[in-house]
């Protein structure tokens, strides 16, 4: 008796009666249910809520307002400030994290004797609980006892302690610096592993072919790393745009909205201002941006898999 026959007899002919075209999907039903309940439903709910004017205090009473919440994003100068902050945050944060991370990864590869130990140490900012890391930076940037103020005074850059976290002009930057500190190690590790993945013989072959150190970097190292770097870049974008803890712990997005990014603003709108409709509309916006990033992430990842 074949395995198929055994199965058939065990389940009787109930399953047999289901048409083949439907039967093949049965095994993935449990996963689809989970995805539906925990992912698809909340997304749909957020999109739905974004068309209503709704308060968190009375979530059952909502008034359908059409695209009014999206119009609010379009016209409210505070929200413009938040979008601009998010853009600055994501671009500066990602590029700097990549720059520092790449150099750090390179140093780990070339200069450090105990690479595994050194990279474990380098990874500390990444593995530290996020709130702990953010709190450390909050202390360091603090206005009256912060070590960074002390440093600036010692170096003669400023005459006296200055307010950073509480200043509308400066408050965006300390969290960005904290975020670079958190993300650079991840990119460093990515750089290190992709450098280690390059066959040493390729460099030797290039040396025999007459390539200078710069040419070896330009024509061997960089092209061999290009998909890894692209994935790292997209990861940085995604981590940066999703970040909440670093800003919230350090400045709570203030003063005003001077250091708010999208996720912080969503939280404030929903849980401080209780404006669920607008928060949902902002969430949908963030969702679309992330969807674009993710699409490219998966595309590059597929290329990486198919490359060698």
């Amino acid at each position: 008796m074949s395995y198929a026959d055994q199965t058939r007899s065990a389940y009787g002919n109930v399953i047999d009666r289901i048409p083949e075209s439907i039967r093949v999907y049965l095994p993935i039903v449990p996963v689809m249910v989970l995805v539906g309940v925990f992912i698809l439903y909340p997304i749909a709910q957020a999109v739905y809520s974004s068309f209503f004017s709704k308060s968190l205090l009375s979530p059952d009473e909502g008034e359908f307002v059409g695209l009014a919440n999206y119009q609010e994003i379009w016209t409210n100068p505070d929200l413009h400030q938040v979008l601009w902050n998010t853009f600055v945050w994501v671009s500066v944060g990602s590029i700097a994290a990549i720059g520092f991370g790449f150099v750090l990864g390179w140093l780990l590869y070339e200069k450090f004797p105990y690479t595994s130990v050194a990279s474990a140490i380098v990874l500390i900012p990444w593995v530290l609980p996020r709130v702990v890391g953010a709190s450390i930076w909050q202390f360091m940037f603090g206005g009256d006892q912060g070590i960074i103020n002390e440093l600036l005074v010692q170096l003669g850059i400023v005459d006296d302690y200055i307010v950073m976290l509480g200043s509308g002009e400066l408050s965006l930057w300390p969290p960005i610096i904290g975020m670079i500190w958190r993300l650079a190690p991840l990119f460093a590790l990515l750089t290190l592993t992709s450098l280690q993945g390059i066959d040493e013989h390729l460099y030797e072959a290039a040396r025999m072919d007459g390539a200078t150190p710069w040419e070896r970097f330009r024509y061997i190292t960089l092209p061999m790393m290009r998909y890894n770097l692209a994935i790292g870049f997209l990861l940085m974008l995604i981590y940066n745009i999703r970040n909440f803890s670093m800003v919230w712990v350090m400045t709570e997005g203030g003063p005003g909205v001077s250091s708010s990014t999208l996720p912080v603003m969503i939280y404030r709108t929903a849980f401080v201002d209780f404006n669920v409709g607008l928060a949902s509309a902002l969430s949908v916006l963030l969702f679309v941006v992330l969807l674009v990033f993710s699409y490219y992430y998966i595309k590059v990842y597929d290329k990486l898999q198919g490359e060698f």
Binding site: H201, L202, E204, R207, A211, T212, M224
Partner: protein, 390 residues
């Protein structure tokens, strides 16, 4: 076109004063212009390190590497104008075959235009019959095709020297033989001085003008394939070269008239003095003979006076028209190569003999060669051809 010379080249990894590892020890090798040198030896004998020092990938701890009499120790690898073929080919995986071939030409400070480079790439690709593959990436090629691209990348620049680091080790047996012949032909055609590393003695014998045999970083012998086979400098060379391995037995030697009397546990025989060049400073010797030199039949009947003995066949390994026979004799284990279609089975009794010309003698203490396998002209009587006359 380069005359390559290694003058006392030494490489120590780690601290030479403390526990450094001597990979290459005071190597002197002279390779005339256009010659094909093979560096042969077991794993860890320093042959690859030597090659890498010639190429500039390693710096000698002491000694000089000279191209045409100019010391190049301080010349960087990229400026030595040397091409190397690696064991794993080391093709640039992200470049097409065309880009792989052209990479070296583009790096050189020559005045070639892109068009000229393209022409040269096509020319070399045609020579190696890979013109169909020019737009493919290495990952899409078979092992043999990758090997050709690797060769192409080396010859396209018309370098002063070719270096080969076990270039055939990653290929299957069939392809290895074809590529071996091709490399040999290619090198003869372009006439570029070459150094080739292998641990495969058969490969070395077929391809080399000269073989340098290394062990523990020291040069054991530098000679033609004939010389290392027939007149191995010492026991190591004798055992490393030739397949199956040489049979070896303890013995003593003494003089008896115009002959040397060799006494072994189970036999004794005379070697006429005219067959021996060396003065014997010892009486303890190792007696060796190659499986190919053992023939069936009674030596004395054939006018030769070499050792003869009986053996019982234990294992037969047929190799086409020949067979390698492992047997038990009154000397101990013996390996013989029997030619022709033999019809032997395990348990058969064989009468075997060796001509005295073909007997090797080594000093038992120093393991230096006392008497080699003399080639036919020097012997009075024509010894039988390799293998057996039944």
């Amino acid at each position: 076109m380069t005359h390559l010379e290694l003058d006392g080249v030494t490489k120590v990894f780690g601290d030479p004063e403390k526990d450094g590892v001597v990979a290459v020890d005071d190597l002197h090798i002279d390779v005339p212009d256009g010659d094909f040198l093979v560096l042969l030896g077991p794993s860890g004998c320093g042959k690859t390190t030597t090659l890498r020092m010639i190429g500039g990938l390693e710096e000698p701890t002491a000694g000089e590497v000279q191209f045409d009499g100019t010391v190049v120790n301080d010349v960087k690898a990229r400026n030595r104008d040397v091409a190397m073929v690696f064991q794993d080919f080391a093709l640039y995986p992200h470049m097409t075959v065309r880009e792989n071939l052209g990479f070296g030409l583009k790096r050189e400070n020559n005045d070639m235009t892109d068009g000229e480079i393209e022409d040269r790439v096509t020319e070399v690709a045609e020579m190696l019959e890979i013109e169909e593959l020019l737009n493919n990436k290495p990952g899409q090629l078979s092992g043999g095709q990758q090997q050709r691209v690797a060769l192409g990348r080396a010859i396209i620049r018309e370098p002063r020297l070719f270096l080969f680091d076990e270039p055939l080790a990653n290929l299957d047996a069939q392809l290895r033989k074809t590529m071996r012949t091709e490399i040999d032909e290619l090198q003869s055609d372009v006439g570029i001085t070459s150094a080739y590393v292998t641990h495969n003695q058969e490969e070395a014998m077929t391809i080399a003008d000269k073989i340098a045999i290394l062990n523990h970083g020291q040069l054991q012998q530098l000679g033609t394939p004939d010389a290392v086979f027939n007149e191995p400098a010492n026991l190591f060379v004798a055992q490393f070269v030739g397949s199956p391995n040489m049979n070896l037995f303890d013995g003593t030697v003494g003089e008896r008239g115009d002959a040397y009397r060799v006494e072994m546990d189970a036999a004794s025989f005379d070697i006429p003095k005219r067959l021996v060049d060396t003065e014997f400073a010892t009486t303890d010797v190792l007696v060796g003979f190659r499986p190919q030199d053992i023939f069936q039949g009674r030596g004395k009947k054939r006018g030769a006076s070499g050792p003869s003995f009986d053996a019982e066949v234990r294992v037969i390994e047929p190799v086409g028209t020949e067979a390698v026979v492992h047997g038990d004799s009154n000397f101990g284990d013996i390996t013989a190569k029997i030619g022709g279609f033999h019809g032997l089975t395990a348990g058969d009794e064989l009468s075997l003999a060796i001509a005295p010309e073909h007997v090797y003698l080594f000093d038992a203490r120093t393991e230096a060669l006392l008497k080699g396998r003399l080639i036919a002209e020097r012997a009075d009587t024509q010894p039988p051809a390799d293998g057996v006359e039944v």
